[in-house]
Every structure is written in C-alpha cells, then in structure tokens.
C-alpha cells in the first residue's frame, strides 16, 4: 500500500469516530447541565424509599405520571402558597395545578420531535411548546433564558438521547377547576 492510499484508509478509519465525538461530547455536556440544574427534581417522579422520597430511575425525566390523577390542590393558609404532590411532579398554587413535562425522547409525548429552534423558543420566551401559553410555576425557565445556544442544544441533545417513556402529561388546570 503506497503512502497516499495508506493515508486515505487511515482517514476513513478515523472519520466516523471524529464525527461522532462532538455529538457524544454534546450529550455529555447536556447531561451534566441537566444534573447540576436540578431538572430531575421535578421531572423525574419520586417514590418512597427507605430514606424518604427519592427519584425513581425507571421513570427518569418522564414527568408527571398520566395514570396518577391528582385531586384539586389543598386550600393553603397563612404563609403557605404552593404545594407539591408525593411524586413532586404536580404542583398546586395560585396558578391552579401544573404538571412537570415528559422530557424523555419519546416522540409523541416527550421531546423526541423537538428541534433546537423549538427548545430555544421555549427557553427564551417562556412559552409552552415555544409558542403557547406562559410556562407555569414552579418551572424556573428564567434560569434557561440566558443560556448559550450551545448549552441549550446540548441539553436537548441529551434529552433526545434518553430512553423514551410514553407518558402523556395532563394539561394544566386553571384555578378553581376540579
């Protein structure tokens, strides 16, 4: 094998790795950001463990379980303004009842069909699905608003790499509705 051919073969061997590496790096970066930003606290349902509520790894980032209806929020008094369900995925407050979204890669009920543009629109505008109603408390979307394009793309890349869990989260309930 002469030198140019050897070089070409070498390039072809390296090429797939080189192309995949940035994608892997982006996913790792996204996973890191999701971890340190605490997305799992609300988007991964909690179960009762020996030491109290803990994230259920089998439901990682799948949002409020659709099969688990919640009753109307409690009537809070005094300084208490909002309450969370046992799973920490449903939240009652002056805004009504809101539910943590399914962030897994499921195409129909999660993030599988989202584009970078959709995700940036959601993060920058604070709108449900990027163009609907305002995102409801307690989702701290304002923390995402000033994230760099690269970080937002990394977060979405990670979410789209997660195991798909089909779970259609209920619509939010306005105040005063059962």
């Amino acid at each position: 094998m002469n030198a140019p051919v050897r070089g070409l073969v070498g390039l072809l061997l390296v090429w797939p790795h080189s192309a995949a590496a940035p994608a892997r790096d982006r996913i790792r970066r996204g996973e890191y950001l999701v971890d340190i930003m605490g997305c799992n606290h609300c988007h991964t349902p909690r179960r009762q463990g020996p030491h109290g509520p803990e994230p259920d790894p089998s439901l990682l980032l799948s949002g409020h379980p659709a099969a688990q209806p919640v009753s109307p929020g409690p009537g809070l008094q005094g300084p208490w303004v909002w309450a969370a369900s046992r799973t920490n995925t449903a939240f009652a407050g002056p805004w009504g009842v809101s539910f943590a979204a399914n962030l897994t890669s499921d195409r129909e009920t999660g993030m599988g069909g989202w584009t970078d543009a959709d995700f940036k629109a959601m993060a920058r505008r604070g709108k449900h699905l990027g163009r609907g109603r305002d995102i409801l408390p307690p989702m701290p979307w304002i923390s995402l608003r000033d994230a760099s394009d690269g970080d937002l793309e990394a977060i979405l890349a990670y979410l789209k790499s997660t195991r798909p869990i089909r779970n259609r989260v209920p619509d939010a309930v306005e105040p005063g509705r059962p």
């Binding site: 009504g96 959709d118 629109a121 709108k127 990027g130 163009r131 609907g132 109603r133």
Partner: protein
Amino acid sequence: MRPEPVLLAALLALPGTEVPRQLSGTGLYQKVAGLVVDPANRPYAPQYPLWSDGADKARWCFLPPGRTIDASRPEAWVFPVGTRFWKEFSFNGRRVETRMLWHSSRNTWTYAAYLWRPDQTDADLVAEAGGDSAAEIAPGRTHRIPSQQDCLACHGNGGPQVLGFTALQLSDDRDPLAPHAEPLRPGMATLATLERDGLVTPARRQWIDQPPRIQAERPRTRAALGYLSANCGNCHQAEQPIPGVALILRQPVGLASLIDLPTHGEVPGWAGRTRAIVPGAPEGSLILHRMGTRSPYTRMPPMASELVDTQAVELLRAWISQDLGP
C-alpha cells in the same frame, strides 16, 4: 426648506438600530398635526384579518424606493431591508395602540409597540414586557399590549415574519364570508396593484388574471379554512410544526388532513372520541372548544386576544355541523 421636526426625527432615528421612542419618529406620518399619513406608506387590508377583540384596524406598508419584494415563494415573501409595517388598533373610536414591524437589517426584524396618549396626538414606545392599556374592550376587560416575546411567539417561528401581507391575504378575489373582513378602499395595496407597480419579483401576470383563492367546494369551507389559516396557521404550520401536535392549519392545506385528526386534548363532557374536527359534531371538535373558551390554559389562541370571536365560532360551528356533517 426647513424639514418638519418629525421628519428630521425619523431620518435621524431610522438608519440606526434604535427604535424611535415615539410613533411620530417612525416615518408613518407626513405631518403629525392631523396625523397625515405619509403617502409613501401604502394602506392595505388582508382578506382574512386576525381577530383582535373587535378592534378597528388600519395598516400600512413602506417599501424602500426602488426596491421590490422577492415573491418567489407566494406565501413566504422576502422583503427588502428598510421595509416597515404598521398596524393601528382602535377601540370605541379612539386609537389605542400602533405596532411597527421593521426590517432593520438583513437578518433582523425589529418589533415595537406604541401606546397612544390620551390626547391622541402621538404614541409612546412600550417596554419589552408589554402591559395593559386603559382601553376597555368589554366590561372589566382591557386591551393588552403584547410583550416582545408574545410577538415572537407568532412572528418568529422560522417562517415568514410578516403574516398578513401575502399573496392570499392581498388577493383581489376577496372572500365575502371572511369574518371581520374590511372593505377594500381606494388607494389600498392589493396583489394587483403591487404587480402593476412592479413591486413584486418575479412578475406574475396570473396574480391579476387569476388571483389566488382557497380552493373549496363550498363557500363556507373557503371562509373557514381562510379564518383558520390566518388566525391559527402561524403556529400550526408545516415548516416548523409544534412538537407533538399534528394539526396544520396554514394554507395551502387539504381539508382531508384536518378531518378525524387525533388530538391529545379532550372536550369536557363529550363522550365520543375527541378529534380536532369531528364532522357533523361541533360539540366534539376540539378546535371549536378551544376557540370558544378563554380558560387561560386551553384557550386558542393562547395570547393576543381576551374575548371569544363569536362570529368565527358560529361560522365554524355551522361549517362542521352542516357542511362536513353526514
């Protein structure tokens, strides 16, 4: 000749990227006294207006002299830098708000909203967050000035930024059943006038001979599809569809694609399968339910309107029950 102060202000303000603080500085008016609109700004009226809680609206378009619109894609026109659009909202005979959409640089459209002063002499730039106006649109309800993010939710979805100035909207073949349609007045820009004035490229003679229209077997279907396209199709569109929502309402869209379309929302009290449109059953059609509520989390549209468009709801109810029914 000494320039009018307002014109000078416009000349100083517009070449840069700063948004003028007063509407009078945007170039809309030739003379602020008397609110005389500059004749360079062409009035127009889309044939399927956006519902704005019953506001009376006036619109103008400014194209830089010697420049043309690239209309290669009939529903996604490309405008020259310097293009400006204004839309004025009035309630109860008083101007309340004027919005400006300005193609301020090659990749930038700048949004601005101006709130009219009580004395109606000028309007002042509103902060990015928007806010309430004093204009009462119904007992206890006031007109809300949209935030910049609200503007982008409709105008910034990856498609054309200008929504009411398209071949279909400016067609001279007007839909007589279009809800809230405004009559064409002399001097208004239409597709034919733009074509005759050489303002669109490439030239399309057929836009004069056969103006675009929504193809539908029945007049009410044409009006219903036109309403949905103008009022809903800026978000529910194919170029950048809403994730997980299959509904496409921007024209051109086939009626068949809307019928029996599964949804993930439900119509309260409807025992059958909820669909976007259930032929013959408006009570089970999610589109109609969403249009008919102002519940903050299920209403459609989700912003830019406080009141239900009852005329449109009745049009769609009749269309679904009588024209699409068994």
